[in-house]
Amino acid sequence: MALIRDLAVQFAEMLLVLALAPGLVGLVRKAKARLTRRRGASIIQPYRDLLRLIRKEVVLAENASWLFRVAPYVIFAATWVAAALVPTFATGLMFSWSADLIAIIALLASARFFLALAGMDVGTSFGGIGASREVMIASLAEPAMLMIVFTLALIVGSTQLATIAGFMNSAAVGLRVSLGLALFALIIVAIAENARIPVDNPATHLELTMVHEAMVLEYSGRHLAVIELAAALKLLLYVSLIACIFAPWGLAGPEAGLAAALIGVLTYVAKLAVGGVLLAVFETAIAKMRVFRVPQFIGAALMLGLLATLLRFFSGSL
């Protein structure tokens, strides 16, 4: 019985992230539009876009290899699994034992690997430019992310997200400098990983400045839909991750009933909304930085992560 319940919760969670991801993108777009005095498209516009793309035919470049066709599904699968591992509304999930931060980083890294390969596959210059920029950003963002994981692991004594969330929700956590540093670092990494301003501009039409968009320029139809959905899932994943680690309130426990789960879902949606609006405000207030300034920006995340680890290492109370 418990197995069926866990399975059901896990399944519900996977569907929930999938269903909410385009909505979060729509919310960020809507908030940005309102902040720049525009009416903006409806929040459900990304769902309509996905539907439209799925119905359209796929146009493939003549020299596209099998990799180009397979990559969208690999990217989507890896990102979806990663997103499903993060405790969103309940901690006692079926896959909790595997919901390891390092596993999530590895899943996202493999998705990125395939995206960069697909970007170069067709051989257009923009795909190559985008792939090279993406990998440059990733080579800095991933170590920073690992530093953040080390900090958390040293504090909590585990890299399992369910354990971390439980610990952060308890009184044992206290006020720690290292956690503050880790939060800052995680936000920077999240912005860089999701190709948001100031690292990349998701709304740009300028092919020469693109990072993420340049890699997917050649995609169309259902391939593009799947990639767009994966990108939305990734954004949702990072917001959920920050919420799960630094604002773990309202999470349903392992043995909680339906009511607790419902409360969990509601608080989760509220957290997503807050995260999305904050992202929109931040993006409106800042210009995109030069490509060569991005390493300094993400380098700051790496140093913050390192500092947090060291602080924690030297003093148990920091």
């Binding site: 720049t36 005095r37 210059s125 740009t204 020469l208 320029l217 930085m289």
Partner: protein, 496 residues
């Protein structure tokens, strides 16, 4: 006696050319003039051809003196000006494409506007375009355009980059060639004025003014004073609308959409005021030879005053926003630096020249009515980067607001249009106007029947596009859209 008048005196003066003198000169004087351009004793103002002659317009930056030299070439060959003065190169290539005139000794003879797709294309134009090579270790080429990801005008840019750094940029233009000059041949003045207003949509007033002034000069008439003032009013409204659009678009290319949204509102207000005042948002066909098409209505005057008031209230906050956003300045300061020597050599007009120290504004240096009676200053900076070009626009907006106020306060009464007299034989006229990009030059010849024989329209972008190639060198590829937007050269006006 100035150098330009010596050139004119050295040739056979053409009587029916107004207001600047035109003379048919021999090869020696032509060569001297090209040499003077190369030595920067004069600025190239235009170079165009017709069936059996090449025409060269020269400007003395200091005195504002203009002269047109013509070289008769029944054999369709003339000595190249571009060999001594590179800014003339693309103009000579266009002359070859459009009129079959061969510039002898020109270092660059590739087709320019002709892409081999016209019914009477030159055979060599159909061959793949020969981009200049740039060789070195680990350099790669990035072709961009002519179809872009956004809805913008078409142009091809061939980058050679070492990693992210641009080693060389070569432009390929001509995709929006419409054959305007050919359409004007044998057209009536009325029809030609409409065509002139459609050469470059964002500068339609500037083109219409330049064309009207050329036609009026050729016929030896003056538009009534009220018409001249109304033209200036339209020109300043056009400048305001375009500068607001540009300031916002430059910031938007640095992903700072907030500025774009706010300047977009201001631009829209100006366009709506123009719509109320002149019955067309962009004021197209508002200026006609002989005056203006419509008088300013009282409610139009009220609408413009209200708009100016609103802009004055809201623009300072936007200037502060630009100046206080460090992440934005980090992108604009130092990017796309244009050396003042180049701006001077190419005679770059508008914000591009003034951002790089070339202190030239046709409204002041060539003081045409009513600007000779209006008070305004011409902003100038020496730092030549994207930031400088933004600030020139900001200062020009402030000046234009003052000008609009002055024009509305002192608008003379009287007629707004005169009947044009029939042409008494062939006559020629030269007209110019300061558009938002820079000086627009129009030269035309009327036949005895009052129809256009030949009309040439020179966009300021002819002398600005080549400078973009120079300004981007050493910048990173990702900064090109920002630099390009700060130049905002016209594709349509250039491709004609």
């Amino acid at each position: 006696m100035t150098m330009l008048s010596e050139f004119v005196a050295g040739g056979r003066r053409v009587a029916a050319h107004r207001p600047a003198p035109r003379a048919v000169v021999d090869a020696a004087t032509w060569h001297q003039a090209a040499q003077a351009l190369g030595d920067e004793r004069a600025t190239l103002f235009g170079l165009w051809g017709e069936r059996d002659a090449a025409h060269l317009a020269l400007l003395d930056d200091g005195t504002g003196e203009i002269a047109v030299l013509s070289f008769a070439c029944p054999d369709r060959r003339f000595p190249s000006v571009g060999a001594l003065h590179p800014p003339a190169l693309r103009l000579e290539r266009a002359m070859r494409d459009l009129y079959g005139l061969v510039a002898e000794g020109a270092p660059d003879t590739r087709p320019w506007l002709d892409h081999g797709r016209w019914p009477n294309s030159r055979p060599e134009a159909a061959a793949p375009y020969d981009f200049r090579p740039a060789e070195g270790e680990s350099l790669h080429r990035i072709p961009v355009g002519p179809v872009h990801a956004g809805i913008i005008e078409p142009g091809h840019f061939r980058f050679t980059a070492g990693g992210e750094t641009v080693v060389r940029l070569e432009e390929r233009l001509g995709y929006v060639h419409k054959g305007v000059e050919n359409l004007m041949a044998d057209a009536t003045l009325e029809r030609s004025a409409q065509l002139a207003g459609r050469v470059s949509g964002d500068s339609t007033v500037a083109y219409a003014i330049a064309f009207a002034r050329a036609a009026e000069a050729a016929l030896g008439v003056d538009a009534p004073p009220r018409a001249l003032w109304l033209r200036a009013l339209m020109a300043e409204l056009e400048r305001l609308a375009n500068h607001f659009g540009d300031i916002g678009a430059i910031c938007n290319d640095a992903a700072f959409a907030l500025m774009h949204a706010h300047t977009g509102v201001l631009r829209e207000r100006v366009l709506r005021a123009a719509d109320v005042a002149f019955c067309h948002r962009l004021m197209r066909d508002g200026v006609v030879p002989g005056g203006v098409a419509r008088d300013l209505s009282p409610e139009g005057s009220v609408a413009i005053r209200a708009t100016v008031g609103e802009v004055r209230r809201r623009f300072p906050a936007l200037i502060a926003l630009y100046d206080n956003t460090a992440s934005l300045l980090d992108r604009t300061v130092g990017a796309g630096y244009l050396r003042p020597e180049l701006a001077r050599q190419y005679g770059a007009g508008g914000y591009i020249g003034r951002g790089s120290g070339r202190d030239f504004d046709a409204r002041r240096n060539l003081a045409y009515a009513p600007y000779d009676e209006l008070r305004f200053t011409v902003p100038k900076r020496g730092d030549g980067d994207v930031n400088a070009r933004v600030w020139i626009r900001i200062r020009e907006v402030e000046q234009s607001l003052d000008l609009v106020d002055q024009i509305l306060a002192r608008l003379p009464q009287g007629a707004t249009r005169i009947e044009l007299p029939p042409a008494a034989g062939a006559c020629e006229g030269l007209g110019l106007a300061e558009g938002f990009r820079g000086d627009v030059l129009v030269w035309l010849r009327l036949g005895g029947d009052g129809r256009i024989v030949r009309c040439h329209l020179r966009d300021p972008s002819w002398f600005q596009w080549p400078l973009l190639e120079a300004a981007i060198e050493g910048n990173i590829v990702a900064d090109f859209p920002l630099c390009n937007k700060s130049f905002n050269c016209s594709y349509s006006g250039h491709d004609l």
